[in-house]
């Protein structure tokens, strides 16, 4: 039995792998009673993996967890909640199609059942109390969840998590979805929970926020614990260094600020209204990295597909070089536009197909307009670009479904580099891939820019947009809600204001 004095939650030597990727390696963490402990690390460092393990969403490979001195092994989220561990997730955590009250009491409806019939009125009453309890009394419990704004939905989640009076409350990067007033509300709630003697595990990559709120801090890097800091040891530069593990001068995102972007427009969208987009006008210049961001259903993914000709505009038009209309994907590829879908396995590659055939697919007609395509040429093209992108595989005949996410994405990018394109539309190119591949993709984007190619970078990660883009366009409910030039002082908070 470990020393549990003044300790509410303790995890020891937690390991978790996804295939070949080690998300957590021998990770230890302790959360004291009445403590707000921060957990920070880069994307993909294992923060979310650990929080979902603690909340019973995922199983771990090995290790032990203790809660209140007893071994804690959640069988699932419901079991975790019964033990007093409740979590607010990073992604959307409410269920659409049911009312706010039903969301708050999801899985706990039995408390309102009398003679086999659900007493909806009692449930709505209780929901109203729960919402008022967190200072969100303006939300109507009877309302359908999808009618609420993104922020209100987050508040519903908070009400749900707090209704169970958790002993350990896990908050996973929730603040990025909240406006400033929403954040203040959350901070106040956290203080209340802390004063009541419960503990909080707070996950964020906003270092200022962490330093302000947390009592202590645990830092993760590539699944390994790098440091535990007390409040008096907090120092922004040191925290950053511990997170990234190298001097900050090292390359990850771009560092330059290019003020001489060409005025030449290579691809533009004129007042386009299409599925998911309303009256959007976007211009992409030569040599520019244009970031496109917003909340997940704001229309940014549709924007990429419209630019590539996959979704036809109902109104307006998409022009290449100010003259020709982008008709469809075939036309787009012929005219030097490339597109990488967010949905990798279904849309941007064929899993049950060799690396060679995946890479050669768009280039086949260039290799031979008529007649047979030389086997040698195909092999050479695929080998050259697979090597160039450092795809890790035994040979180019290997089927792509055996590759890791990062390697698959490298194959997808190799395919377009082999084809050669002047405009690349990348929809969440670093989604779900390891840090090393991410860095390689950022490097690639930078190199493409240097060669005068234009890139549309659609991303859900604000840091990525800020770090890579010359200009950022933000969307909200299908409309363009803001535009930012690249500058030193650009912060996530500024972007978020335009997103919500």
């Amino acid at each position: 039995m470990p020393n549990m004095e003044n300790c509410l939650f303790k995890a020891e030597r937690i390991c978790k792998s996804f295939g070949a990727v080690h998300a957590l390696v021998d990770f230890d963490i302790t959360v004291g009673a009445g403590e707000i402990r921060g957990l920070v690390g880069e994307n993909g460092s294992g923060k979310s993996t650990f929080s979902s393990i603690a909340a019973g969403i995922q199983k771990y490979d090995s290790g032990v967890m203790y809660l209140n001195g007893e071994e804690y092994k959640p069988a699932g989220t419901v079991d975790a909640v019964d033990h007093g561990v409740s979590m607010v997730v990073q992604e959307q955590g409410t269920i659409t199609g049911i009312s706010v009250a039903a969301n708050i009491f999801f899985g706990k409806e039995s408390g309102f059942v009398k003679h086999g019939v659900l007493n909806t009125r009692a449930m709505n009453r209780a929901a109203k109390e729960a919402l008022a309890g967190i200072g969100a009394g303006t939300i109507v419990p009877e309302q359908m969840t999808e009618k609420l704004s993104f922020e209100d939905r987050k508040l519903v989640e908070l009400a749900r998590a707090l209704y169970t009076k958790p002993r350990l409350w896990i908050i996973d990067e929730t603040t990025t979805a909240l406006s400033l007033s929403g954040r203040d509300l959350l901070y106040e709630l956290m203080k209340k929970v802390k004063d009541s003697g419960s503990s909080i595990l707070f996950i964020s990559h906003d270092i200022d926020e962490i330093m302000q709120i947390c009592d202590s801090l645990t830092i993760l890097r590539d699944g390994v614990l790098t440091a535990n800091l007390k409040k008096e040891e907090f120092d922004a530069d040191r925290i950053r260094q511990l997170m990234i593990g190298r001097e900050l001068s090292g390359h990850y995102y771009r560092e330059d600020i290019d003020e001489n972007i060409s005025k030449e427009v290579v691809l533009e969208m004129e007042n386009v209204t299409a599925a998911g987009l309303r009256n959007a006008t976007v211009k992409l210049h030569r040599g520019e990295v244009l970031g496109v961001g917003g909340l997940s259903d704001c229309g940014m993914h549709e924007l990429g597909k419209v630019l590539y000709g996959l979704i036809p505009p109902r109104q307006g038009r998409v022009l290449k070089d100010g003259r020709e209309i982008v008709k469809n994907a075939f036309w787009a590829v012929r005219n030097g536009i490339a597109y990488v879908s967010k949905n990798r396995d279904q849309e941007s590659m064929m899993p049950i197909c060799s690396i060679r055939d995946n890479i050669c697919l768009p280039s086949l007609r260039d290799l031979a307009r008529f007649g047979p395509v030389s086997v040698k040429k195909q092999k050479k093209l695929a080998e050259t670009w697979a090597a160039n992108m450092e795809v890790k595989a035994d040979s180019i005949s290997v089927y792509c479904n055996t590759l890791s996410g990062g390697n698959k994405q490298k194959v997808v990018l190799a395919k377009w580099l082999a084809k050669g394109a002047d405009i690349l539309i990348l929809d969440c190119p670093t989604r779900g891939i390891d840090v090393g591949t991410k860095a390689a993709i950022y490097q690639l984007i930078e190199n493409l820019k240097k060669k005068g190619k234009s890139v549309v970078l659609i991303s859900e990660e604000l840091q990525e947009l800020i770090g890579m883009s010359d200009r950022i366009i933000l969307l909200k409910d299908g409309e363009i809600s803001g535009e930012f030039e690249r500058s030193e002082g650009l912060s996530e908070a500024k972007l978020i204001q335009k997103m919500i």
Partner: protein, 319 residues
């Protein structure tokens, strides 16, 4: 789950499955060959019967080679028999004007009907199974209605029913289609569309056009088969090409083509499967199984072949 466990099992096991998968069609062929060679007491591979087998193989094999493109697309064409019948009928009508028109009439008829099927599948998004089944009813109905019994052509046209002509025709189609399928952009596009239509579209492939051309190509070959069927019998009847679609489907499935389409569909399956199918048909006739029972046997084999090809589809995934 099954996929993961198969990947993690020892390398040797995967190899055995892979070998089975790769050579299943040959194993099936050898089994059929040995079985009927014994049952017919050597008559099967006798000189006279070899010509018989070749005649069976000729039409099934021609069609199966075109069918490979349809299978790669992950589609089916159940109208091939009907197209053969209808093209033969149109060829017979054309002979009333000029015997030189028989071949172009038959081939163009096949191409036209194949194009209609292709249009329905590619542009109207009709499921190919349903679309071509409906098409076969329409075309058969038209054949019966137009022929009103049967129509003959001059007996001199028999001159085209020579083995040399057939062998040369087959070789030309074989070479052209082999390169088109294995080495040209079009064949690879077909497989890409079958593997993932959306990925293919996003790679700049005109998915609708690729699908349309597959059916048009298959229709055209059926027209050619219609011509050779006509010159062999010198008469076109509403029975011409009857149940031919099942012979072909059985041949490609027997040859190891998975119904799912994509990169696992191999061209050689068409040829190997057709030979096995021709031997099967000829062998059954030789040992005196009548037509009705033959259909029963074929139906059973079709089910077994599909069940096995499903398993082999997974084996393909492991690779």
């Amino acid at each position: 789950m099954a996929k993961e466990s198969a990947v993690t099992t020892g390398k040797k096991k995967v190899n055995i499955r892979e070998i089975l998968f790769n050579y299943f069609s040959f194993i099936g062929l050898i089994l059929v060959l040995v079985l009927f060679e014994i049952l017919t007491k050597g008559l099967l591979l006798g000189k006279r019967n070899l010509i018989n087998i070749f005649n069976n193989f000729f039409s099934i094999g021609l069609c199966a080679m075109a069918y490979a493109f349809i299978m790669a697309l992950g589609e089916l064409d159940l109208s091939v028999g009907a197209i053969v019948g209808f093209s033969a009928a149109m060829g017979a009508f054309a002979s009333n004007i000029n015997v030189g028109l028989i071949l172009p009439a038959a081939v163009l008829t096949g191409l036209a009907i194949g194009s209609v099927s292709g249009f329905a599948v590619a542009k109207l998004n009709v499921e190919s199974f349903i679309g071509t089944l409906a098409m076969s009813f329409v075309v058969r109905g038209m054949t019966t209605w137009l022929l009103n019994g049967s129509t003959g052509i001059p007996i001199a046209m028999r001159a085209f029913d020579k083995n040399l002509v057939k062998i040369l025709t087959f070789l030309v189609v074989l070479i052209v289609f082999y390169f088109l399928y294995e080495h040209c952009a079009y064949g690879k596009h077909c497989r890409a569309v079958g593997a993932s239509a959306e990925a293919a579209r996003q790679s700049g492939i005109r998915v609708e056009r690729v699908r349309f051309l597959g059916f048009a190509l298959c229709g055209m070959i059926c027209g050619l088969i219609g011509f050779f069927t006509l010159v062999r019998a010198c008469t076109a009847s509403s029975k011409t090409g009857d149940a031919f679609e099942f012979d072909v489907l059985l041949a490609v499935l027997f040859g190891g083509m998975p119904l799912s389409g994509g990169w696992v569909v191999r061209f050689r399956s068409a040829v190997v499967g057709s030979i096995a199918m021709a031997i099967l048909k000829s062998g059954m006739s030789l040992i005196g199984i009548d037509g009705l029972v033959q259909q029963i046997v074929q139906g059973v084999i079709l089910i077994i072949a599909v069940a096995l090809s499903f398993d082999r589809k997974n084996a393909g995934v492991i690779k």
